[in-house]
Amino acid sequence: MDTTKVATSNTTTAATTKKKNRVGAVAGWADDRLGLAALGKKQLRKVFPDHWSFMLGEIALWSFVVLLLTGVFLTLWFNPSMGEVAYDGSYDQLRGIEMSEAYASSLHISFDVRGGLLMRQMHHWAAMLFVASMMVHLLRVFFTGAFRKPRELNWVIGCLLLILGTLEGFTGYSLPDDLLSGTGVRAADGFIKASPVVGTYMSFLLFGGEFPGEAIIPRLFTVHVLLIPGLLLALIAAHMLLLVYHKHTQWPGPGRTEQNVVGYPMLPVYAAKAGGFFFIVFGITAMMGALLTINPVWKYGPYDPSKVTAGSQPDWYMGWPDGALRIMPGLESEIFGYTISWNVMLPILILPIVMFIILLLLPFLDAWITGDKRDHHLLERPRNAPTRTALMVALMTMYGLFWAAGGNDIIAITLHASINQITYFMRAAVIIGPIIAFFITRRWCISLQRKDNETVLHGYETGIIMRSPEGGYSEKHLPLPESKAYALTARDRDPVPNGLPSGGTDANGVPAPEGGRLAGLRHRLRTLYYADNAQKPTPEELAEGHHHAEHEHELQTGMDGHAADGHQFDGHHLVEDEHLRDPHH
């Protein structure tokens, strides 16, 4: 390689320690005291692979930092007290009205502190971004199989971050004590009271007596600014440490294997890109805070337990349990003089916990069904795990339908439809929808697998129609470039489910090795898991495919180098001056 042309900024020799420089002096001072050189020599040039989808988790990380920074600013003025005051700030419409100090200080931040409204809006937008990017990041990790061994524990930490982030959001938007947030707290009190046995006591303890009391805002404040952020910080640190320890996953491709990681070094490129991205996330949040109004608490007025606004809805990430609550039939039973509120307990207390446990267990369920105990560092395309992909799409569909049910009043108003019919429809849809989504996604993935195989075996479509001497028409296919063909086929063959369900015997009467009903279930699930998947071509199929292609190619010799050979599309030659037909004809 001719490196003489390389610009002076890119040195070709390794840096040496011949000359002591200032960086070296500082590093030496620090190492004398902290002994960081051993760590630095390994980590400073640590490799991070590049792909746009690896950025989603970064959005979550950086929006959390934005939340910490803007949140500290807000605490300087926010007064988490339910003591009553008469508002006397700048906002004319509410002046003189009795309200809690929490609400009054929220108005003060919005109207009398320069940059206060900006920080409030940035804080709220960053919270939305935080939860949304965690969810999309979770989907990315699941769809690409990045949760597989050895990363299951990091999946668990990520799930905890998601649920804590959601709770953090709920406690946060309850703090201003406006009419909307107070309505949310009122509903939360109803949820707590629906807990069997301890519900009433929990409500009285949490609210310091009867709802609404004067304790809930200061208590939520402590949870919001100390308890949950502390847990989030600790878990984020653990999440990052495990990421560094495991090294990031990468997509298969030329030179990228299970044993290596290819990408840019932490210092300088990755640090610069990630650090720069922090400023971009921060800057975009600032722009949203400047241009997009969010949670205009002054429009709702102070909380009054006898008032409510139509279209009361929680922040979007709380929407799905709220939807479940809306479409739940009104069941309640009374046993031995005690009340069990199934209509509240099932959708809001049990369903989210069950869904969360399912989410936590997904990696272990996947590993149990597949029996796969190997380490995985290469990502899988979603299509190459059709059942897994379909499972998540089914869960997403269920989530989406519950979420839509949380806006059944808005849908009814927008579509001029009957809210009753929408609710009845949703009751069925949340069960049928995911099932349909599962099967469609699964077949879709398998079709895409077949399409990949087709391309590997017979090449890609050039868009050139050939006419044979007999007058038949066919589209010309050309083999994939080597690197692409390698990336497409760099995946495992699915194991052939062998063995027999428990209790079964093979043709020779030998009983299956594993026993127990569980093993039988596992066998059936594994069979279903891989059933119908398209496997990548065998070497024989590939050889035959190539042979076939060569044969075709022979028929088309004479075309090579001309516009009709199709090779202009893979850059083999240019055809600017050529014409398929004689232009003078």
Binding site: K193, T200, M287, P305, V308, E332
Partner: protein, 366 residues
């Protein structure tokens, strides 16, 4: 790969086919050749990129200055409608802050893309597990430690210690008991007593007037037309203090959250009276708790033709002509009804308090 999992020449090693993947249809072509960028080979392009990056950083400086200027120029207040409805201060502070941050971010990323070395390098992975030798050694150490502690041989010590440590957590839980009064401590004649105290009680008493929620004025039956809905409150929240003063603070909020009612008037023959409630309405004026029996939202969306009352939170719908039974939605119980009468001065009063707890269900409700 013990000693060279990380080395500067990794990119050369990567071209060695990987033995572990036996099922490859194609040989691993190895990393694609590195292409030099224009900024690597053309000093002019390099200089141009330098200028671009520096310009971006300077633009950030300009935005920071603008931020400081807008901070001192634009006042806040309730004239936040200025500049396209955004508020002058909010808009200028936000956009200049945004610019100051974005230009730094774009500048750094431009720097990384154009001017920093862009050669991908290769690092080898460690297995996440430790080596067998390390495992064995660690296990030995663990066993030695356990052995030397004698915990295994002394079950009495072990069990009492585990029990003590497990139990000591109680000291963190029990003090939470004082977070608030217990449900059975709140009520008339109990430790925590105030007007309307107790989860099963409200401030309503026999003879208490039903008043309008904002003004506190009493209601005459003649004030109401057929189809009207009045948001009512117990007169007690306006005069229920020990010396007849209005309730305030927590006690006011608690009583609003339990005492609020809706009063509606319909044709008397439209009312389907439940057994024992035949005389609970006055000339077609009927009164129910405003607090939803689902999770406690106040209800106020009334459809006068059908007499349906819809909760805006979760759309439970109650038929006010038929004892407010649930006709739709997730609520399980009818709204409690307040028996109405008229006092000597001709104002609407409650002839008795609610005969059941209002608001959301709870375990002990029965």
């Amino acid at each position: 790969m013990s000693d060279h999992d990380k080395d500067e020449h990794g990119h050369e090693l990567s071209n060695v086919p990987d033995e572990a993947v036996t099922d490859d249809l194609y040989p691993n072509p190895g990393l694609p050749e590195h292409h030099w960028r224009p900024t690597d080979v053309d000093p002019k392009a390099e200089r141009r990129a330098e200028r671009q990056v520096a310009t971006l950083f300077l633009l950030s400086v300009v935005c920071t200055v603008l931020f400081v200027v807008s901070y001192f120029t634009f006042q806040v207040g309730d004239d936040w409608d200025t500049i396209g409805g955004f508020g002058a201060s909010n808009l200028t502070l936000g956009l200049s802050l945004s610019g100051a941050l974005l230009f730094i971010g774009i500048g750094i990323i431009q720097l990384a893309r154009k001017l920093m070395a862009d050669k991908e390098i290769v690092e080898y992975r460690h297995p996440s597990a430790s080596s067998e030798a390390d495992r064995a050694e660690a296990l030995t150490a663990l066993n030695t430690g356990i052995d030397e502690s004698g915990i295994g041989r002394r079950p009495l010590v072990r069990n009492t210690m585990l029990g003590a440590v497990g139990l000591v957590g109680v000291t963190a839980i029990i003090p939470l008991w004082d977070l608030g009064p217990k449900p059975n401590q709140v009520g008339p004649g109990k430790k925590y007593d105030y007007p309307g105290a107790g989860i099963e009680n409200t401030i309503w008493t026999a003879g208490m007037r039903v008043v309008r929620d904002v003004t506190g004025t009493p209601i005459r039956p003649a004030d109401m037309e057929i189809g009207d809905l009045i948001n009512g409150e117990p007169a007690g929240i306006f005069n229920g203090g020990p010396d007849g003063e209005p309730l305030e603070g927590v006690v006011l909020q608690i009583n609003k959250s339990k005492g609020a009612v809706v009063v509606v008037r319909m044709e008397p023959d439209e009312i389907i009276p439940a057994e024992g409630r035949e005389n609970w309405a006055v000339d077609g004026i009927i009164c129910y708790s405003k607090i939803c029996t689902h999770v406690g939202c106040p209800i106020s969306l009334y459809e006068r033709t059908t007499h349906h009352l819809l909760c805006p939170c979760h759309q439970s719908t109650f038929d006010l002509s038929d004892s407010a039974r649930v006709v739709f939605g997730p609520a399980a119980r009818a709204l409690p009804q307040l028996p109405l009468g008229v006092d000597e001065e001709g104002y609407l009063i409650a002839t008795a308090p609610f005969d059941e707890p209002v608001g959301p269900s709870y375990w002990e409700r029965g």
